[in-house]
């Protein structure tokens, strides 16, 4: 039953936003797949749950595009894990996606919350 509940709380990711979230998460430090998923979950206040079935294909796709590089390292509890790191191209991509995102938010806000306030 609890599973069902959680499902209802979840927000479907918009098409294309997962890439941006991954890039953003890796902006400060390299991280492994599980860590990335957890970071997105925590930062979104448990609202965004990244499915592994989307996460790993996305990571591999971004790596193939040259935005990420991967490296095997050992975690703090001695687990070998594949750490992803942002490349210079990845940083540029992140910047461009971010500005596109801002534009989109503004545009959607413009539609959803028209300037002539007082309606709500």
């Amino acid at each position: 039953m609890s599973r069902h509940e959680r499902y209802q709380n979840r927000i479907e990711l918009l098409q294309g936003t997962l890439d941006m979230l991954i890039l953003r998460t890796l902006r400060l430090a390299p991280q492994h797949g599980h860590g990335i998923a957890q970071a997105i979950r925590v930062h979104s206040g448990d609202l965004l749950l990244v499915e592994t079935g989307s996460l790993y294909p996305a990571l591999h796709r971004l790596a193939k595009q040259g935005w990420l590089t991967a490296e095997w390292k050992v975690t703090e509890n001695n687990q070998r894990a594949k750490y992803y790191k942002l490349t210079a191209a990845g940083r540029k991509q992140l910047a461009s996606e971010q500005s596109k995102w801002k534009l989109l938010v503004k545009a959607i806000a413009g539609v959803m919350l028209p300037r002539s306030a007082g309606e709500a």
């Binding site: 860590g35 790993y56 591999h60 509890n77 594949k82």
Partner: protein
């Protein structure tokens, strides 16, 4: 790829482990944590699959996949693979073999510095001239050019070598060269010094030799101590001063040179080959000082920019010399022609080769033939691929319909072709390496009696095979690949595997079979022409008795006999040999039959014959002992043979052949007439039948025979007539000569028929090879026909079953199937015949006694091909006629 897969597995395992740890840290039990992590993760296999699909395939991985797929597909169909690989391997192997021979004989340069800059000086003239130079001529040419750019050299001579006194002498090759030889070639010795300009000073004064690397290693111990060692060459002491580098075998392709010695030593080593003398020159005296003896080849080095200037300088120097010589020529017309001589430069980048001069047209003919064989093999394989492709139509349709790109499929089908070619090419290369060596070995051995160690598969041959393989792969692979991927998907998926597409559709398989028949006809015609040619050569009336004569090569001059000793020597060996039971007669001669020896004189005067302006009277000549003609079986037509009257000092007499009387005594009696060199002092006493003394292909030229009793010259042959098989007395002859003249070296004993046969070895080899290629082509074409018809039949079994169930008679079915094959055969023959008649014209240079459009050969080839092809077509037709309707109909 598997590494990437392993990494993905580990990445996912890590994810699960971290998730479980997180859940445990959050307070779940281990079981709950594990179950939860698994559940959240979802379908493990699907995640992996989707992730993997993100990787994409690099070109390399795709090729790897295709290769594996191709190998698997080929292994699944071993009969197809075996036949395709075998026919392609034969085709590629034959091409590589012939090409590697062509490469060595025609393309490969000598291992010297910038071989493309080397030339040999040739003379262009409308009057017969010696194509060689006297030593003085060489000096004039050398001094007209840049220093160290002109060198003189003799032919390769067989010499006997003895290392240390009392050692057994053994034969080796020595070349006499001027001191500039190594400098012009740009060949530096690995040890000691090369010959140099200071080895050109005094006749007889330079007993030094440079030894080849091979001879040094194999015979002289291969140590540095060889410098300064003495060896005996033809009994003369020489000091070894240098060792040539390993890659340099001299300038004669078929006969590696073992020793290079100064030209100044000509008289000492008794070198006396390939020379012409004029104006009372004396061949017995040292040659170096004599203007009248032309015996040297002159080689020059000239870069692309200096070649023209070099040639001008050489011609100016030579013209000065010609002008001086022309003063003695009375006839103004003759003088003008003489002065018109010009020098020109012939490339010497590949050195000299008797194979090249004799067999170049044969090699090109063979190259054309093997190309045809490969084309047929390609057509055959293409046919097999097509048949297989239609069997795989549904597979391909399925793959296309689930989204495989057409380009991708073509790439994959082509990869299969290339796997096939790669396997075939490897086998073909081995085949070629083995057979080319055997081929060249057998020809060279018979031509020069020596073993060449020169054939290796080098970069050029490998490159040729590679390019050939790629072209082959595209030839037979591309069309089927394009065709089989161009499908009406719906139709292809709907149709059952057994029904046929409409009859009207163009059938490339049948087209290919007809093309194969046409190509095979070309090869069968070629083989037929060569066989007829060889047959004619074997039947040529030689004018001497090849079946009962043993020919013994001797060289009294090289063995150290003087002219004065010769009469006694000849009497001794003729006497000893004649005493052997089974020997009927023996005689010696200056030149042997069907040997390389040939002597001619020009400027002959004949009483009662006025040459037209500029005409040169040239007689070939031989000097023989009494009873020569009866020994070799030449018939005396009229007049008398030499006898006791014709002694030294008596009136000079000669016998002449029919060709001479036809040419110069057309309307008058030749016997009793006189001719001579400076004055007509020699009387014709008899006429001998024409004989092909030089080689089988060459018509008899005007020829005069003189008696050794009247003027002694050095002889080169002893002819022995045996009552029965001459080979049986061979051992006895050798023993008798060794006993009678232990100092006389016997070079070779062969029967005349062997000697003649050897001179035809190239023709025989070409004939055998074309017969092999022709049969191969015939076999492949028939196989193609059989395959296509059987395949078509297999797909029509149901139809035939229905027809027979409805009352068609077996004979009608047989005829129907056979008629289709006949149509293909006829189409192929009709297309091939004009092409064959056209292509055969290119063979005219290598044919003998048969015209390229010889109708017997053409129709013989057509008949052979037609009958064999019909046999191949009968099998499937007969099977069709025996189809059991019940079985055929139940199959559906």
């Amino acid at each position: 790829m598997s590494r990437k897969n392993r990494e993905l597995d580990e990445e996912i395992r890590t994810h699960l482990a971290l998730e479980i740890q997180r859940r445990i840290d959050a307070g779940e039990t281990r079981e709950a944590a594990e179950a939860g992590a698994q559940r959240d993760f979802g379908n493990l296999g699907l995640v992996k699959e989707v992730t993997r699909s993100m990787w994409g395939w690099s070109l390399f991985e795709r090729i790897g996949q295709d290769l594996r797929y191709g190998v698997r597909a080929l292994r699944r169909n071993p009969a197809f693979t075996l036949i395709a690989v075998l026919s392609l391997a034969l085709g590629i192997g034959a091409n590589t073999a012939i090409f590697s021979v062509l490469n060595v004989v025609l393309l490969k340069p000598m291992q010297v510095t910038a071989p493309e800059e080397l030339y040999r000086i040739q003379q262009e003239s409308r009057v017969p001239v010696a194509q060689r130079f006297s030593y003085h001529d060489f000096e004039r040419l050398r001094d007209a050019a840049v220093p160290e750019s002109v060198a003189a050299m003799s032919s390769n001579a067989r010499v006997s070598v003895a290392v240390g006194s009392g050692a057994q002498a053994e034969p080796a090759n020595a070349q006499l060269v001027s001191g500039e030889f190594f400098a012009v070639l740009g060949v530096a010795p690995v040890l000691g010094r090369a010959l140099a300009a200071f080895d050109n000073l005094t006749p007889g004064g330079h007993p030094v030799a440079v030894v080849s690397h091979g001879y040094w290693k194999q015979r002289l111990g291969g140590e540095a101590g060889v410098l300064g060692r003495n060896i005996l060459l033809n009994g003369v002491r020489f000091t070894i001063v240098g060792v040539a580098p390993p890659g340099f075998h001299g300038v004669f392709l078929e006969a590696p040179t073992d020793f290079w010695i100064p030209v100044m030593m000509q008289q000492e080593v008794r070198y006396h080959q390939n020379y012409s003398d004029r104006n009372n020159a004396d061949g017995e005296q040292p040659w170096v000082p004599q203007e009248g003896i032309s015996w040297l080849d002159v080689m020059v080095r000239a870069g692309p920019n200096s070649k023209a200037a070099m040639l001008t300088a050489l011609n100016i120097a030579y013209q000065r010399r010609l002008a001086a010589m022309a003063e003695s020529i009375g006839d103004p017309q003759q003088r003008r022609l003489f002065l018109e001589q010009r020098l020109w430069l012939e490339s010497f980048a590949q050195g000299r080769s008797s194979l090249r001069t004799r067999f170049t047209p044969h090699l090109f003919a063979l190259m054309g033939m093997v190309a045809l064989v490969l084309l047929i093999a390609c057509a055959n394989t293409a046919n097999l691929m097509l048949a297989r492709a239609s069997a795989r139509q549904r597979e391909i349709a399925v793959r296309l319909s689930i989204g495989a790109g057409r380009g991708r499929l073509i790439q994959q089908l082509l990869t299969e072709s290339f796997v096939l070619v790669a396997v075939a090419a490897s086998i073909g290369l081995l085949l070629a390496y083995w057979s080319a060596n055997a081929l060249v070995g057998s020809v060279v051995n018979r031509v020069s009696g020596q073993n060449p160690a020169m054939l290796a598969v080098d970069g050029r041959v490998l490159g040729f095979t590679l390019v050939l393989s790629v072209v082959t792969g595209l030839l037979f692979g591309l069309a089927p690949a394009l065709r089989s991927t161009k499908l009406q998907l719906g139709e292809a998926l709907k149709t059952s595997s057994r029904s046929l597409p409409g009859r009207s559709r163009f059938n490339p398989g049948k087209f290919l079979v007809a093309a194969q028949v046409a190509l095979a006809l070309l090869l069968v015609v070629g083989a037929g022409l060569f066989a007829r040619s060889l047959y004619h050569l074997g039947r040529v009336e030689l004018g001497f008795d090849r079946d009962h004569v043993l020919s013994v090569s001797i060289d009294p001059r090289a063995s150290g006999f003087t002219l004065e000793q010769l009469p006694a020597l000849h009497a001794r060996i003729i006497g000893a040999v004649s005493a052997i039971p089974g020997v009927e007669a023996a005689a010696v001669a200056m030149c042997g039959l069907a040997s390389e020896c040939r002597s001619s004189s020009d400027g002959i005067l004949i009483t009662g014959y006025t040459p037209s302006a500029g005409e040169q009277v040239v007689f070939q000549e031989n000097r023989v002992s009494p009873r020569y003609f009866s020994t070799v079986g030449m018939r005396l037509l009229r007049g008398r043979d030499f006898d006791a009257r014709d002694r030294h000092g008596a009136a000079k007499v000669a016998l002449v052949n029919q060709a001479l009387t036809r040419r110069y005594f057309a309307n008058r009696e030749a016997i009793g007439q006189r001719f001579g060199y400076t004055s007509p002092d020699t009387e014709i006493i008899g006429i001998i039948t024409d004989a092909r003394v030089n080689n089988v292909r060459e018509q008899a030229t005007p020829m005069a025979y003189y008696s050794l009793d009247q003027e002694e010259v050095h002889t080169r042959t002893l002819e022995v007539r045996a009552a029965g098989d001459p080979a049986r007395v061979s051992a006895g002859v050798r023993k008798a000569i060794a006993a009678a003249a232990p100092d006389l070296a016997v070079e070779r004993i062969t029967t005349l028929s062997q000697q003649v046969g050897n001179s035809l070895s190239a023709e025989r080899l070409v004939t055998v090879l074309t017969a092999v290629f022709g049969s191969l082509a015939l076999g492949l074409a028939c196989f193609g026909l059989y395959g296509v018809m059987s395949y078509a039949l297999a797909r029509r079994t149901t139809e035939i079953g229905v027809r027979m169930a409805l009352g068609a008679r077996p004979s009608a079915v047989l005829w129907a199937v056979l008629r289709e094959s006949l149509g293909l055969i006829l189409a192929g023959l009709a297309a091939g015949l004009p092409v064959a008649m056209f292509a055969a014209r290119f063979l005219s240079r290598v044919l003998y006694g048969v015209q390229p459009w010889d109708s017997l050969t053409l129709w013989g080839a057509v008949l052979t091909l037609a009958s064999v092809a019909i046999l191949a077509a009968l099998v499937p037709a007969w099977r069709a006629a025996r189809v059991d309707p019940c079985v055929a109909l139940r199959q559906e």
